[in-house]
């Protein structure tokens, strides 16, 4: 895809710079002339949305740090100080908190899109694995960020999640004490979480750059899953993808800002408005909604160590997804059985989320266990088998053929729109 650069600056200043440091060329080739498949649908706009959400989180985060105090005696009050006294502080704080949720909404859609259209298959394995790494970094960053306001759920969430590591044989206790820097979650823990919460987003930026780099080497996948064959199949990134991404982003932000301004507490927990108290555990400890499915997997396994292994395994299994899926066809559009399995997985994941939000009692336990077993069965048994057994539908010979066929269906014997 990268191929020969077509950048030919007319502006003498740009030419001067480009001859010495080809940064303008890199930008031009990556974000202007970069060819994208012409059949990308709106599910493909979430990469751009994620990029903006990441920048938005980093900017609001840097701003919040100007007012936040990472000390157990002051952290809670300093967040209230931001909400009450800092100019625009109430908006900035909620923008960051609700922004985390919407970052995850976008990333889940982005991942599901990749799974549906088989974007993880050769030659995009490394692109996909970098994506999984990004998701893991996001989870770690989000978790540590949630501890910073030092509310009850911050504290007890931190305690429970760090205690996961006590499941490690022999060294568990040592590791947890090391993580805490003490014998419980305390000031030392808060300060190191603050430090890492500031550091990890920049690591994230680094991995995202690799992710985009890998994307620009292989080119984008597309809804047909058929590789780009000629210039007929593609359009220039600017203006086509740019304006489509911008429109999608704007609509996404309508929903996002509606929550920030009109339901800022909806996605959080009430109990986090109570300052952390190491002596009193809240009745139900629940992580933020975006961790719930994995939390459900943790609780579904009755053994402490195996539960932790299952929880991490449920994400780590994505790393080997390119090799678990044995089908030669990428897109679910042409894979009738895989398509149904995909939607079953979505339902399963949703059920896991609901289970994670509810106390582990009665039939919730059973439901959680069934959903967990199905989750792993999907990746480890069904995907390899279906790839071998399924008969795919015939693929279009090229992207442009599929586009022309679709347009012909829509408006028989008519000129192209407008």
């Amino acid at each position: 895809m990268s191929g020969h650069s077509t950048y030919n600056p007319t502006n003498p200043v740009m030419k001067w710079v480009d001859d010495r440091l080809p940064l303008p060329r890199l930008m031009y080739d990556s974000f202007v002339s970069y060819p994208v498949p012409r059949n990308l649908n709106y599910w493909y706009t979430f990469g751009g949305i994620l990029m903006i959400m990441m920048v938005s989180q980093i900017i609001t985060g840097i701003v919040l740090v100007m007012h936040y105090t990472p000390h157990v005696d002051m952290a809670f009050d300093s967040v209230e100080h931001i909400r009450r006294d800092v100019n625009f502080g109430n908006i900035l704080q909620k923008w960051h908190a609700v922004g985390a949720s919407f970052f995850f909404i976008a990333v889940y859609i982005h991942i599901a899109r990749g799974m549906y259209y088989g974007s993880y298959k050769a030659p995009r394995e490394i692109l996909w694995m970098l994506g999984v790494a990004i998701f893991l970094i996001m989870m770690a960053t989000g978790f540590m960020g949630y501890v910073l306001p030092w509310g009850q759920m911050s504290f007890w969430g931190a305690k429970v999640i760090t205690n996961l590591f006590s499941a490690v044989p022999f060294f568990g206790e040592t590791i947890v004490t090391w993580l805490w820097g003490g014998f419980s979650v305390d000031n030392a823990t808060l300060q190191r979480f603050f430090s890492l919460h500031y550091l990890l987003p920049f690591v994230l930026v680094g991995v995202v750059i690799l992710h985009v780099w890998a994307l620009h080497v292989t080119g984008q996948n597309n809804p047909t899953g058929v590789e780009v064959k000629s210039g007929q199949d593609t359009l220039a990134f600017t203006p086509f993808a740019t304006v489509k991404d911008a429109f999608a982003l704007s609509v996404f932000f309508i929903v996002f800002t509606a929550f920030v301004f009109f339901a800022p507490d909806y996605l959080g927990h009430s109990i986090n408005y109570e300052e952390a108290n190491p002596l009193v555990t809240p009745e139900h400890i629940v992580p933020e909604w975006y961790y719930l499915p994995f939390y459900a997997i943790l609780r579904a396994v009755p053994d402490k160590l195996l539960g932790v292994v299952a929880m991490f395994g449920s994400i780590l299994v994505w790393f080997i997804l390119p090799w678990l899926d044995t089908s030669k066809v990428r897109s679910a559009t042409y894979r009738p059985i895989f398509k149904q399995l995909f939607w079953l997985l979505m339902i399963d994941f949703f059920i896991l989320g609901v289970v994670g939000a509810n106390p582990p009692e009665g039939w919730w336990i059973t439901v959680g266990q069934i959903a967990t077993v199905y989750y792993f069965a999907h990746f480890l048994i069904l995907l390899p088998l279906v790839g071998l057994l399924e008969t795919p539908k015939p693929l279009p010979s090229s992207i442009s053929d599929s586009v022309l066929a679709k347009n012909a269906d829509k408006q028989p014997a008519a000129q192209p729109a407008e």
């Binding site: 990308l40 304006v243 489509k244 704007s250 009430s270 408005y273 022309l404």
Partner: protein, 282 residues
């Protein structure tokens, strides 16, 4: 936004019809707070200044004897979007409080009258003192009480939808607890712990250490409103909601500008996108 809201409202209405009859739901012991309509609810909601001023009086004359309001400063009482007392009134209110300050040149702490910039004076010097003076029960700080307590509990399959419309019911919780003191049912009365009252709305209930704080005419409202228990409970719930987020009105009005702007931008981007893509089959 609007259609989503009405859709959600319809779902909420439908489910509440299904649920009517069941009083204590889901979580078990805590009874759902009575759902009333406050002026500040919804995307267009505003605080009622007179109500906030009445609520502040109730806090000051009744609650403040035991409950702190640590996050609030006296100056907040005059800022826009709140009770909007005049600067002079705030000065007078603050001066009634005694604030510990210091150390002075001799290294001693000293007491002085409060100033508008001071945080609300706390009735007890620390948590331990508060607990010891109240028979071991800690009178919660009320700064965020309507945000940290939930008055509504619904079954898991409807809760996310109802709460998107109704919120967590924090203000209703405060009101219902204040109004909810009653004779315990016969079957539990014999287990009544010493010195506690029966209140099914209380989150850690039904036995509550706080004795019924309000009675008819506990305060005298300057505007002549009849100080019934219900009136005072409603007013103080509104005041404490404001205290939990003094900039709520600014947040909502800014929200309108932002969302309307984004809708305009989206329409323009949609048209531009159609133009750009118009000739290209996709």
């Amino acid at each position: 936004m609007k259609t989503t809201k009405s859709l959600l409202a319809a779902i909420a209405l439908g489910t509440s019809l299904v649920l009517s009859g069941t009083t204590a739901i889901a979580a078990g012991k805590q009874k759902n707070a009575e759902d009333i309509s406050f002026s500040f609810e919804g995307v267009f909601g505003h605080f009622d200044r007179a109500q906030l001023q009445r609520g502040y009086l109730v806090y000051k004359e009744v609650c403040a004897a035991c409950h702190s309001l640590n996050q609030l400063a006296y100056r907040n009482l005059s800022q826009p979007g709140g009770p909007e007392l005049s600067e002079a009134e705030v000065k007078a209110v603050a001066a009634e409080a005694t604030i510990e300050d210091g150390p002075n040149d001799e290294g001693e702490m000293f007491e002085r009258p409060g100033l508008p910039a001071d945080k609300f004076a706390s009735p007890f010097p620390n948590r331990e003192a508060a607990m010891s003076a109240n028979g071991g029960a800690y009178p919660a700080d009320l700064s965020l009480i309507t945000k940290k307590r939930e008055g509504f509990h619904f079954p898991w399959y409807v809760s996310p939808f109802i709460k998107l419309v109704k919120g967590n019911g924090g203000p209703e919780y405060v009101r219902s607890v204040l109004m909810g003191y009653q004779e315990p049912p016969a079957e539990v009365a014999k287990d009544a712990p010493e010195g506690k009252s029966y209140n099914p709305y209380f989150s850690a209930g039904p036995w509550i250490s706080m004795a019924a704080p309000l009675s008819e005419d506990s305060v005298e409202y300057a505007d002549g409103t009849k100080a019934s228990v219900e009136q005072m409970a409603t007013d103080v719930a509104a005041f404490l909601t404001w205290a939990g987020e003094p900039k709520m009105e600014q947040r909502k009005s800014m929200g309108f500008q932002v969302v309307l702007y984004l809708i305009l931008l989206s329409v323009l981007l949609f048209l531009t996108k159609k133009r750009v893509w118009g000739r290209e089959p996709h």
